[in-house]
């Protein structure tokens, strides 16, 4: 015990100097106080979130990770390009780190930008095992700013990850607090008529989904750098300064809509890669994504950083202020969006026998049943009028299309253009279709209808350029994360298409990304919603061949851990 405390103290004093190339990280049981509740969790160097690791592009880092838990652990360096043995996914990159053991990671830093790290074992990440990575570029930053802050978001839940998973399996709507009630039904009947309302409810019931199914896991407290709304994380500035904010969404399950009322934000980086600057009033940050923004603050007053969850069931709040203790108004949360018929358009419907329903296995639409649908009903649904904004990354008429609280500019994926393309633009050598599938009621999530444990790996050849076609057949939004290689998001800008490590796929949409297969070995590829990944929306990628690496055999091997 004493030893443990000593380790924590030393860790606080010694390492993490800027640009040091050797780091020590201990994985510890910690207390997490959100202001709303105190919960035992897992942290690094005695705290959750863990430290901000500052690397410099071009250096070689050595990181000694000591597991002080009584269970296996691992650290995945999210978004970092490195040899696959260093990627930290148990069962794919390495066996994991045993209790009491110290594992030494060693890899070169070949990129710059904002990233993060987290455990890839069980539900340690939702339980608090995450931290930030900031990599200084070899040359100068292509921006000017006076100071910078990491703004790391998470959705801290009073229940442990294991308990949440059990509850979801037992009842997928366990944490869905915004379910429509009998009262809602009566209200809506008054507006739309009894039969129309009844038909609407039956249709959604048939899909094993509800209009409120935007957030599977509600009841969390949004944190910024470990602090709840009342604890109010505060970043200081001097009037006249430009401040760079490095937003990281380390949530288990929650997308956030982020704004700083009174300030325009200039987005300069997405997922660690510089983008051509875009001025916005608000942006949506998917799970595991990062966005860097620069704000120019002239007034000597406080500003609220307000991050509402996409389903509006919770929020995170922090403050930018000229001095400690100053605060600004905290806005009310907006009304929860409702999913619409458009969001279920990609959803496979079967109005016949519900017992046999498995979205994944049903590749064909039942067109006979489709005809049975009363299309006049659809007109009456929240299909949206002419006033709805358009965004090709949401289904037309989707209830999820975001709008800025002040009526201004909301960032879209289509605004993201690489500042400096990393790869030559070329035709992909082939296309791989990945249908994102699931059965909400059983809380089973899968790819092409097959869960991870039943699936063969996706085999890629070193040197090819693969086009991935994501078809989201579910009504949830899935942040798809490919390890080890960049995801080149298709936004229709050719060589300027941005590099990402997470590609968010909204319900009923098809999204393309391309990958230059330039990293030999085996890699994880999964939905970054913790409980989706753990219930099967996960694949192993095997890259065969390579310049100096033994050819992978493509076989599944041993323990297929690496949930979340």
């Amino acid at each position: 015990m004493n030893k443990c405390i000593l380790a924590v103290v030393l860790a606080g004093l010694m390492p993490f100097q800027v640009f040091a190339s050797e780091y020590d990280i201990s994985v510890d049981r910690v207390q997490i106080d959100t202001g709303d509740f105190v919960k035992e969790g897992i942290g690094y160097n005695g705290a959750s979130p863990g430290p901000v690791l500052r690397f410099r592009e071009g250096e070689e880092v050595t990181i000694n990770v000591t597991n002080n838990l009584d269970e296996m652990t691992s650290i995945h360096w999210h978004g970092l390009i490195l040899p696959f043995e260093q990627d930290g996914v148990p069962g794919i990159s390495f066996p994991g780190i045993k209790p009491g053991e110290t594992f030494t990671y060693q890899f070169p830093i070949v990129q710059a930008g904002t990233y993060w790290f987290h455990s890839h074992s069980g539900f340690q990440e939702p339980n608090g095992a995450y931290g930030a990575i900031v990599i200084e570029p070899e040359g100068r930053e292509p921006y000017r700013y006076d100071r910078e802050y990491v703004v790391q978001l998470t959705d801290k839940h009073p229940h442990s990850g294991d308990r949440i998973m059990r509850n979801l399996k037992m009842s997928a709507d366990y944490y869905n607090r915004q379910q429509q009630t009998v009262g809602d039904f009566i209200d809506e009947s008054g507006e739309k008529g009894f039969m129309a309302t009844l038909r609407d409810r039956m249709m959604w019931g048939d899909m094993r989904m509800m209009k409120m199914d935007i957030e599977d896991v509600q009841g969390f407290t949004g944190l910024i750098n470990g602090k709840g709304p009342d604890q109010n994380w505060t970043g200081l500035f001097k009037p006249g300064e430009r401040v760079r904010l490095r937003f990281i969404n380390s949530s288990a399950m929650t997308y956030f809509d982020v704004r700083i009322p009174g300030l325009e934000m200039t987005v300069v980086q997405a997922d660690g890669n510089n983008v051509q600057p875009v001025n916005v009033d608000e942006f949506r940050i998917g799970v595991a994504e990062t966005y860097d923004v620069i704000v120019h603050i002239n007034d000597e007053k406080a500003y609220t950083i307000f991050a509402e969850s996409m389903g509006r069931s919770g929020f995170a709040r922090g403050t930018l202020a000229p001095e400690e203790g100053m605060t600004a108004e905290v806005p009310d949360r907006r009304d929860a969006p409702l999913l619409t018929m458009a969001d279920m358009a990609g959803h496979v419907m079967d109005h016949g026998d519900m017992d046999g329903m498995d979205h994944g296995e049903m590749t064909d639409m039942n067109h006979g049943d489709m005809k049975g649908m009363d299309h006049s009903d659809m007109e009456g649904m929240d299909h949206g009028g002419d006033s709805l904004p358009e965004d090709p990354f949401y289904a037309n008429g989707s209830g999820l299309i975001p709008t800025a609280a002040n009526g201004g500019k909301f960032l879209s994926y289509q605004d993201l253009k690489a500042q400096k393309p990393l790869y030559e633009d070329r035709e992909p050598t082939r296309e791989i279709e990945l249908r994102l599938t699931g059965n909400m009621e059983r809380y089973e999530w899968s790819i092409n209808g097959i869960k991870y444990e039943d699936a063969d790996p996706i085999v890629l050849q070193y040197g090819e350029r693969v086009r991935f076609k994501f078809v989201n057949e579910t009504m949830m939004t899935h942040p798809m994360h490919l390890h080890g290689m960049w995801s080149i998001l298709e936004v229709g800008e050719g060589k300027w298409n941005p590099l990402k490590h997470v590609v968010s796929v909204a319900p009923a949409t098809t999204v393309y990304m391309e990958t230059e297969v330039d990293a030999p070995g085996q890699w994880a590829f999964h939905c970054h919603l913790s409980y989706h990944a753990a219930s099967g929306m996960f694949r192993k990628i095997v890259v065969e061949g390579g310049p100096d690496s033994p050819v992978a055999d493509g076989k599944q091997s041993g323990n297929q851990g690496g949930e979340s």
């Binding site: 430290p51 921006y143 000017r144 760079r244 051509q276 875009v278 500042q419």
Partner: protein, 197 residues
């Protein structure tokens, strides 16, 4: 947007851009004299300053001039994106950014090129969307151009790129007037790089 609509919007843009140009060139006249200075004459040039545009910043990021001095700016775009070099006050830059946002929205200004045909289209009334204010140049990657400018008197000026987002990301430079350098204690330049958890 269809072609018809695009064309229908052009006159509105021309108006906006022209008024911007006048605002930039003449607005300050109301306050007695050309506060930002005026186009200079070749024969008055006392020195040449090379300015390099990169993505998205300038080299140098600060220049020093004397009141009354006429300077030749040799501006070269060595970046991969379109950039502007514009001499003005912070307020003027802000106003101009709205105009340039419009140019982007209407497809005149792409990330890495300018649609010259569209920009130089004669609207039949002698106006075009030409970006030809004397205090600025708008350059595609690889292009170079010169501005001869006379700084008539000390003022709070910046040179800036008003391509949407670029100024906010830090593509601006300070123009210090030598007589007033001491008075201007502006925090500027390098990041302090501090992070607080």
């Amino acid at each position: 947007m269809n072609q018809f609509l695009k064309n229908a919007l052009l006159p509105a843009m021309v108006l906006a851009i022209s008024s911007g140009a006048y605002a930039a060139g003449k607005h300050d006249g109301h306050h007695g004299g050309n506060a930002i200075g005026e186009p200079g004459k070749e024969e008055d040039v006392s020195r040449t300053i090379d300015v390099t545009m990169l993505d998205n910043y300038y080299e140098p990021e600060s220049i020093s001039v004397k009141p009354g001095e006429t300077i030749r700016f040799r501006v070269k775009n060595e970046g991969a994106l379109v950039h502007e070099f514009n001499i003005g006050t912070a307020d003027m830059h802000e106003a101009h950014q709205e105009e340039m946002q419009m140019m982007v929205e209407h497809g005149v200004l792409k990330g890495d090129r300018i649609d010259h045909e569209m920009m130089e289209m004669d609207m039949g009334n002698g106006h075009s969307m030409k970006h030809d204010d004397p205090n600025s140049v708008l350059l595609e990657p690889g292009e170079a151009r010169e501005i001869v400018w006379t700084f008539t008197k000390a003022a709070d000026l910046e040179f800036a790129c008003n391509v949407p987002g670029h100024y906010q990301a830090g593509m601006y430079g300070d123009i210090e007037f030598e007589a007033t350098v001491a008075a201007k204690e502006r925090v500027r330049g390098e990041s302090e790089s501090e992070s607080v958890q």
